[in-house]
């Protein structure tokens, strides 16, 4: 069955990203209008809009399997693209689509299930001789068992959700008396996030680099990799900046890791786009972490350096076409960096800062790609993630990409919420980042003062003083004789009282 109409089971920038490619391929698209974002930008890219604003439901529409299937049937969409997040890695949803003769643009339900269950994925990796951090082969049911295993493999260890991903349900434990508390937190968080409280334990690799390989496989059994991405700039396992390629890999290591990534994908007969994540320690030992069975936020940097449209490949593969790209023809050209500009307050520990985006303008230089679902007037709502835009910058090499990135960041103009921009502006000027010697622990080491120069503080102080003058000193002088309290201005008196 050839795909003629795709239901986009997602929102924001990724919905737009998918629709752009679909249009180019002459496939029509259906987007869903929700009550949370009735004026969202992604709606204007769809050929058809399904209005779901009247529907009152406990769960967001993008998580409502039955309802999504019925929308697909009603709108006669013969395929569904789940994007990332939401139901992208839900094997049951993928199966439901197939049961209703709707093409699920992604891997098979079986591959999603096996890779989504970390315990099964670990066993598969073990059988295929993929290096892994030591740990439990089965789920751990209580903290006593957790302590036993941790003592065997040695602290620090990391507790992970068996059905997890994206950093949720993960806790690092450094000594046995922390285990009880962390075990409870991790399994509660896992239950809440993934509806499955089971957790497992593995050796925690201190200060690794996060390296992942982009995989493409077709339904005929061909699997290739499109090189790596480095995603070591993270905070609490949430990625902030990604680049491709990685300065930590040479051709030899890239070949070795890529070969194993393809091998693990083949072990589940993987087709569509997927990502195999590894940790790389300072001695260049690498360990399999997990496989993500979806298109990822950071797929853009791979697209920039390979020139391959990954969404197009996903659609072609879902159509049953054979991969036309051979491994030996995959070349990484130049360097690409992606900055995730989120509505977050970096000075308050990256706390989400939802609100209305009043002004938004992004650079339009030739070396810049912007993927966004937000425009001036859009709101960042707390129902969804806090992403404003992905700023993807390229260069001939890493040095030039960083230089271009600096320039591009200074051109971004956003008003209305606080953003992660100050973090990136500081990061690209940091020596360790420029040298490429950073690890996943990097953000914790970064300077907590975000301003770029004393001048900026001086200018902010000037503005505060200007406001003070306008509010308080409209008359030429105020009575401020320190010796004569009875004649002190009410304003100054008030301030004195506040100090006690």
């Amino acid at each position: 069955m050839k795909i003629t109409k795709i239901l986009i089971a997602n929102r924001g920038e990724i919905a737009i990203r998918i629709m752009k490619t679909a249009h180019r391929m002459k496939i029509s698209t259906v987007a869903i209008k929700t009550a949370a974002e009735p004026n969202a930008m992604y709606l204007s890219y769809a050929d058809e809009i399904f209005d779901n604003t009247e529907e009152i439901s406990e769960i967001p529409i993008f998580l409502d399997i039955e309802r999504l299937i019925s929308i697909a049937l009603k709108t006669r969409a013969n395929a569904v693209h789940p994007g990332y997040g939401f139901l992208a890695e839900n094997a049951y949803f993928a199966q439901k689509c197939l049961d209703n003769k709707i093409v699920f643009i992604g891997p098979s339900p079986d591959a999603i299930y096996k890779m989504g269950n970390k315990t099964i994925a670990r066993k598969l990796a073990l059988q295929n001789g993929i290096p892994m951090a030591m740990g439990s082969t089965d789920n751990i049911s209580n903290e006593e068992e957790a302590i036993k295993i941790a003592e065997k493999i040695g602290y620090p260890v990391i507790i992970k959700a068996a059905s997890g991903g994206g950093g949720r349900g993960m806790r690092i434990v450094r000594k046995s008396d922390e285990m009880e508390k962390m075990f409870i937190i991790a399994s509660k968080e896992a239950e809440k996030a993934f509806n499955d409280p089971s957790v497992f334990i593995e050796k925690y690799i201190e200060n690794p680099k996060h390296i992942e390989f982009q995989i493409l496989g077709d339904t005929k059994g061909n699997v290739i990799h499109l090189g790596e991405r480095e995603c070591s700039i993270q905070r609490k396992h949430q990625k902030l900046l990604e680049e491709s390629p990685s300065g930590a890999l040479d051709n030899h290591l890239r070949k070795r890791m890529g070969k194993l990534a393809v091998q693990i994908a083949k072990a589940v007969n993987y087709y569509s786009a997927g990502t195999v994540e590894f940790l790389l320690d300072s001695d260049k030992n690498f360990y399999f972490m997990e496989m993500n069975t979806r298109i990822q936020v950071e797929h853009t940097v791979t697209e920039v350096v390979t020139g391959i449209d990954l969404i197009e490949q996903q659609i072609r593969i879902a159509n049953g076409e054979e991969l036309k790209i051979r491994q030996e023809n995959v070349r990484l050209k130049g360097w690409a960096i992606e900055c995730r500009i989120n509505a977050e307050d970096v000075q308050a520990g990256f706390a989400p800062d939802p609100g209305k985006i009043e002004k938004l303008s992004m650079p339009s230089d030739s070396f810049v790609r912007v993927d966004t679902g937000i425009q001036a007037g859009s709101s960042i709502v707390s129902t969804y993630d806090s992403m404003i835009a992905k700023l993807i910058v390229s260069g001939r090499d890493r040095k030039e990409a960083i230089k271009n990135c600096k320039m591009a960041l200074d051109k971004v103009w956003i008003k209305g919420t606080k953003t992660t921009l100050p973090f990136f502006r500081l990061l690209v000027r940091n020596q360790k980042f420029q040298d490429g010697t950073f690890t996943t622990a990097f953000i914790e080491e970064l300077d907590k003062y975000y301003f770029n120069s004393e001048y900026e503080e001086m200018l902010a102080a000037w503005l505060a003083t200007k406001m003070f003058v306008e509010e308080n000193l409209r008359e030429n002088s105020i009575n401020a004789d320190p010796e004569n309290k009875s004649e002190m201005s009410p304003w100054l008196l008030n301030k004195r009282i506040n100090q006690f």
Binding site: I185, K236, P354, E456
Partner: protein, 175 residues
């Protein structure tokens, strides 16, 4: 001494206690080294409010002001200043002498959200970095960690309760 005094200077005190002084009447110029640079506060439809300085635009916002305290957002970074006159500066110095260090640490909610769990009790001894509460905001669970070694004096939030930004969560006696 005359009862009316003219103020010829203002100080902006940063939250890190840096003192930046400006002479009155306030000029649209800032001196860096030996040169004066023009600084302009402007506003237009495309950019909103901004400061123009050395041919570059910086987005600015006055986030809030209370009496002489101003929170300024400049180029996406928050700064908090209290603006003082020479006289109020003098008084502050007098008032601050003899004030001991704070022995109590009050933890406030860093963002609005829901308290998922409280991991300590009143009277619990806690170590720096120890998780005290789990606060869920935008689907992420955040640990509220103790900034100090000490003993929990009081807890102001219950599991499953919603909190606003800056709501008091817990008080710890510093050891």
């Amino acid at each position: 001494m005359n009862d009316k005094l003219r103020i010829n200077k203002l100080y902006a005190l940063s939250s890190e206690n840096r003192k930046l002084s400006f002479s009155l009447p306030l000029k649209n110029r800032i001196r860096i080294g030996k040169r004066d640079y023009v600084v302009q506060l402007k506003s237009d439809e495309k950019y909103g409010t901004y400061i123009l300085w050395k041919n570059r635009k910086y987005p600015v916002e006055i986030v809030r002001s209370r009496q002489n305290k101003y929170e300024i957002l400049f180029n996406d970074i928050s700064y908090t200043f209290t603006v003082e006159t020479p006289f109020s500066m003098q008084r502050m110095k007098v008032l601050n002498t003899g004030k001991g260090k704070t022995e109590k640490e009050s933890l406030k909610a860093p963002m609005p959200g829901k308290i998922i769990d409280v991991l300590v009790r009143e009277g619990s001894n806690v170590l720096r970095g120890e998780p005290l509460m789990i606060l869920e905001a935008m689907k992420m669970q955040n640990e509220i960690q103790s900034p100090v070694n000490g003993q929990v004096i009081s807890i102001h939030a219950k599991p499953n309760s919603n909190v606003m930004k800056d709501d008091m969560l817990i008080e710890i006696k510093v050891e």
